[in-house]
Symmetry: C2
Subunit: 297 residues, 2 copies
């Protein structure tokens, strides 16, 4: 990771942090406990991978950074809500997230439930109340894309498949189906919404970007599985090895670590290929892709 | 309730039912269990009070019924999601809703959690992907209003206050604050969004309609409290007397049944007064108001 990329990524992360800090309701505003839990969940942690992808996609076509910030923040709120609900006892029942107690441990289950619910509402609120593109019609299309990516035919649907797969042996295509929904849909939305903030791309370009999104989304999950299998809880900031403990199928359980790493590399090449026609404008997207695939936690 | 009103309400309810049945993902679509739970939760039950308010508000200014149907369905999805999450063990822990087992009893807790999450996403999806007004800019404003009404400064916030109030003695203003958020915000959104589907109202009219919404929202809750205190589980279709059992403050616990009934009547008069300048165009809104206040279950 070059110093230039580190600086760029740091700037993006700061922009997102400042924006969310500004827009999340203050903790002295009723209901205080809920607003405190929302801020606890969202602020001061996380790699902000999805917003980084939004910013990098925005650079394809000259998107205004302030607009991409809104989009990145909205996607991050959806991601944050999904983590809070995912950690609940009736789901993954996890106590550690981003190195801190999970929301229902720090607060309580009911507050965690309402925190997730409220963060989801807030994501759509942000996308509706801030101008993120020149055309209100395209902005509606962006809200639709985020809603699809979040719902039963996107992320929430992927989580349902994930739950149903515990203790089962999945084929590689079945595992892929699950992750395209569970992780891929929101990563795709982060990229496409970032690009929608700038000048219009033509259909061919949108298609290429869409294929890129799919590769990156899968690669992200493959790497996640490898890290989960190899890392310790301390470096990961969340409970390590829990997939195996929970008897969940992963890329590692199906392919083994070494073939899973190879798959990530194949997906990386495929992703880069679909960016070719963008030339230098896609430099940041390539860097974020490497950041995702070569990360160590 | 006149035969004419019954017929109108039946038509509205049918429109909503057909539209939601058409738009909710089929149960043979993966993830099947989640889609089945979504349909179980939303279809074939409920008085559809909020959509009725949307339709009635749309009649103030000639709104197209197909457009109001979208708005009413979106609001109803938010309402349905809130019920599913509200019934979970970590919240009200209820087993009966609309005369049927609650979602987490019929399915399981994780599925109920994801069902609520997915219904919320779908509400915003419907409002973004269907044209509900001539101006895309106003449509964005409508999405913003629904998001606010749903989130921590609306319905979810009201539920947080509700949870925090268990076992406490609230003053009447504190109880009102809770209900303006918990029930009132979404009822207000139903009415205002219905009106936004038609010709523009002027600021004075919007103000009057807003005041009407506030009165109806509170009246709805006052009547709910009275019914909960008086009804049996069989007529109510949900567990009766649970507010008292849960040691929750209600209008009945603070005022007693007879004064609570008087308060509902006062709110009814106040609501009607704010509709005066609309004349005959507000006839349906008056009827729905009476339907809400004079209902027996």
């Amino acid at each position: 990771m070059t110093a230039d990329f580190q600086k760029w990524a740091g700037n993006c992360q700061t922009r997102i942090e400042i924006f969310l800090d500004d827009r999340l309701p203050e903790t002295n505003r009723e209901p205080e406990r809920l607003h405190s839990a929302m801020r606890y969940t969202v602020l001061g942690g996380g790699k902000r991978v999805r917003p980084l992808l939004s910013f990098a996609a925005g650079e394809l076509n000259g998107a205004d950074e302030a607009r991409v910030t809104v989009v990145g923040a909205a996607v991050e709120l959806i991601h944050a809500y999904s983590l809070v609900h995912d950690d609940l006892p009736c789901m993954d029942d996890d106590v550690l997230r981003r190195g801190k107690p999970t929301c229902h441990i720090e607060y309580d289950e009911a507050t965690a439930l309402l925190t997730g619910d409220s963060l989801q509402s807030m994501a759509f609120q942000l996308l509706a109340e801030n101008q993120v593109t020149d055309s209100a019609q395209i902005q509606l299309e962006m809200i639709k894309q985020l809603a699809y990516a979040s719902g039963s035919r996107g992320m929430a649907g992927g989580q349902a498949v994930d739950l149903a797969s515990v203790g089962k042996i999945l084929t590689l295509p079945e595992l892929e189906f699950m992750h395209i929904h569970k992780t891929g849909a929101l990563i795709r939305a982060a990229i496409m919404l970032g690009a929608h903030c700038g000048d219009r791309l033509n259909d061919r370009q949108l298609e290429q970007l869409d294929h890129f999104s799919k590769c990156v989304g899968l690669a992200f999950q493959v790497v996640d599985d490898v890290l989960d299998a190899e890392a310790t809880t301390a470096t990961l900031g969340k409970t390590a090895g829990k997939d195996a403990d929970n008897n969940k199928p992963t890329y590692v359980s199906i392919l083994g670590v070494s073939q899973a790493r190879e798959l990530a590399e194949t997906l990386r090449r495929d992703a880069f290929q679909s960016l070719e026609s963008f030339g230098e404008a896609a430099a940041r997207l390539r860097q974020v892709t490497d950041f995702i695939i070569q990360r160590e936690f």
